[in-house]
Amino acid sequence: MQVRSMHFKAAASQKLADRRLQDALRKTQGKFVAGRAQAILELENFDEIRDAARRIRDRVLEHLDLYLEQFERNATARGAVVHWAENAEEANRIICDIARVHGVKKAAKSKSMVSEECALNDALEAAGVQVVETDLGEYILQLANEPPSHIVAPVVHKSKDEISDLFERHHQRARKESVPDLCREAREVLRPHFLSADMGISGANFIVAETGSTLIVTNEGNGRLCTTMPRVHVAITGIEKVVPTLEDVTTLLRLLPRSATGQSITNYVSVTTGVRAPGEEDGPEHFHIVLVDNGRSRLLGTDFQAMLRCIRCGACMNHCPVYQTIGGHAYGWVYPGPMGSILTPSYVGIENALDLPNASTLCNQCGVVCPVKIPLPELQRKLREKQVERRLRPWTERLALRLWAYAAAQPEIYSLGARLAARMLRRMGGSERLIHRLPPGASGWTQGRDMPAPEGKTFHELYRQRSAGR
């Protein structure tokens, strides 16, 4: 997917003015936040489960090579073929080759964010394969030719009316207005594709080292159709998704749906192990698993390794005040919100996403809800440090910070500056005691609010006066 994160500010500004988006975000956020809050109450020891989950993920990341090799051995023993892709191009090439070898004309695809990273659909279409997204949200986006704006609810930015319009235009049927009618129509259109597809493409929420299985959690059942009906199944996922045992998966599954959608469990949890065995009635004849690095291994052993614990629940964005105000598209790449503010610069280059780690109030609501306790604000701050180290901040900002830090280290100079500022700002506030316009450098503040004026004297001054008078 093309990276547009450098246009964050302009995009955010546009999204703030988008009424429909604002309404859509408000509607869904309440549901997700309340849903999670309710769902975690079912667990008496939610926090202990989080710690256990974190330990599982940390153990994997400490020994990633070992678990991946174990996974490959066990998957291969059950008839799957494991492919290793260093980057997006390699992943696409591998999958296009598989399609060619098997004479694939049509692929039915369930949701996969890694395939978005790779822009897999574009590559397959270019290779002459028709790709049909079968997750309802992703299907809608395919019709609209838009990227997802949320990792779990990809179409969260669209209203029902927009979807009615899209379906009417593309399906050439009478306009449907209600959600059940829209779903039924999508199902009717999609069913024949599952039956006629030569290839099913899925992602994987987890891959299990001890069994060589891939696992997906879904609510619509399309994932199960994609992984069992077509004769070729390709699962594409990131190398960090490996988990040692099925037992470990059950721990993670107690957290994932609760944190994501507020469900105790999703409608489907599909574990796919190997190819169709002799005598079995369903399952693919060929099973290819494509494990994508695409920047992940670079994070191992760095401050950012913790980010690889992520299980893609989306709780961080559901609870992020910034995401909830501008939506996912403004972030400019596959992963939006707090997790995206770390993953995007990590995968596509710090210099290509300068705004993302800075466009956060560091309120830590994301860190508090993260099921695997990723210290997201701390990582955002570390990326800011990297920007400073690599001199990627504007010189004006660097100079201002340096001057301020110099002054703050010299009490006399600082106190003189503070006294002057207190008086100047007091005067600027006039009789209303409100400053409507701050000078360049601070004018961002007064774009949308006033600055209450100071009292006029500093605490230091008044304290000294008071001490003298005592």
Binding site: R384, L434, G444, T446, D450, P452, F459, E461, L462
Partner: protein, 242 residues
Amino acid sequence: MRVGLFVTCLVDLMRPRIGFAAITLLESAGCEVVFPETQTCCGQPAYNSGDREAAQLLARKVLREFRHCDYVVAPSGSCSGMIREHFPELFRGEPEYEDMRGLAARTFELTDFLVNRARLGDVPGRFDGVVTYHDSCAGLREMGVKHQPRQLLAKVAGLQLKEMERSETCCGFGGTFSIKYGEISAKLADNKCQDVQASGADALVLGDLGCMLNIEGRLRRMGDHKTRVLHVAEVLAGIEGE
């Protein structure tokens, strides 16, 4: 016990009366309050802007200035959070690490200190009206400040507390974020103001200057000159201004 007041750079510049309110409260709880006069800023703007070196410089300065105090108390969750949560992290693996951990362990947010350490009895303040309380991010999520200010406000004669919706959601201040991303920041402040107004409170009470200036600034820009915005220390000490 000897309590060093870390007044914070924003109180120093913008609302000195909050510093005096803090002194009043600490003294009425029986503390000896000292104010190291060379203090400036905890360094958080540098730390959050990625300038680790400048942050370390200022952290060392705070350590020196408050070395002789049993406790360090700040009328801010954000600045006390900087000292308690982030100073040690800034010096991990360096000689000052243990000293910073010591300083961190002695540092408190004002209302937390008043309730859990100083065990303040009666409060001098009186307030006739309904207030609502905004939980600032660092106070709540770094310092565990939630019930302490409410417990103290309950002692203020005449005051009635009415909770607003989403009191724990960020107001959008975020330090330099409020200037760098002014538009997003103002929108978050706007959301907060709507919740404040919907609560029907006469005043919004909170414990951090950044949030205070942000929310008050947005309320006034929206044309609301009626809803007062007050620091919890002012209300408790009964010296809220004009």
